[in-house]
Amino acid sequence: MNETVEILGKLMDATALRQKVLSNNLANANTPGYIRKDVEFSAALADALDDGVDDIRKVQPEVISDTDAPLDSRGNSVSLQKEMGEIAQNALLYDFAAEMTGQKFNLLRKAISGTK
């Protein structure tokens, strides 16, 4: 319908998936041998933004294993602090996309009803 709504929708999808992945990291904070996971999408989305709306539709957020994070004595790489920080940032991004989408629809509503 609209490029902006499409992009914001993608952003909400990706951040919702990331919330899930980060929650899974927290749930496994005490699972021996668990390697933290993350979602990769911002680079792909930025590339697609350069190429147009058809590419945006194709962007798929990807769950990856974060192999850079340091392991503790049980071979687990989850840090509560780090995950909480990422969750806060990610939620903010989701809120932003939801807010912008709402604004977009509000504009549409105003245009249809002809009121201010």
Partner: protein, 142 residues
């Protein structure tokens, strides 16, 4: 897909809360039995450990994002402290009594870890709920 967009990760956080509270129970049981020299089998109490494992969620096609499971509760078989207590009914012929292998300080550290992890899971769950509310807010124009 609706679960992904509306309530991202609530079930996952719930599994984390479940697992950490099971761990808390086991720790509490260890501390409560720190002086128990006679269990149901007549032997000295052995401290228990929980075994956590990833829960797989094949249904979503994302592999492992299923949260966490308590796979097992196992006894720690390391020997307990020997104390000289000749008058005790559970003491051996030499008057030595084996105490449970519970180390109160180690249990406290474990308890802190379980409690912090529980709080983190709870906080993640709250965030998921707020996100779901925001998505609904788009419809109502708020």
């Amino acid at each position: 897909m609706s679960e992904i967009t509306l309530m991202p990760g609530v079930n996952i956080s719930a599994s984390g809360l479940d697992a950490e509270s099971r761990r808390m129970e086991v720790i509490a049981n260890n501390v409560a039995n720190a002086q128990t020299t006679r269990g149901p089998d007549g032997k000295v109490f052995q401290r228990k450990d929980v075994v956590f494992g990833q829960r797989l969620d094949a249904a979503l096609g994302e592999g492992e994002l299923g949260g966490v499971d308590v796979l097992d509760i196992v006894a720690d078989t390391s020997p307990g402290r020997q104390v000289y207590r000749p008058g005790h009914p559970d003491a051996n012929a030499d008057g030595m009594l084996e105490m449970p292998n519970v180390n109160s300080v180690a249990e406290m550290v474990d308890m802190m870890s379980a409690s912090r992890a529980f709080e983190a899971n709870l906080s993640a769950m709250k965030t998921s709920r707020t996100m779901a509310a925001k998505a609904l807010g788009i419809m109502s124009g708020k």
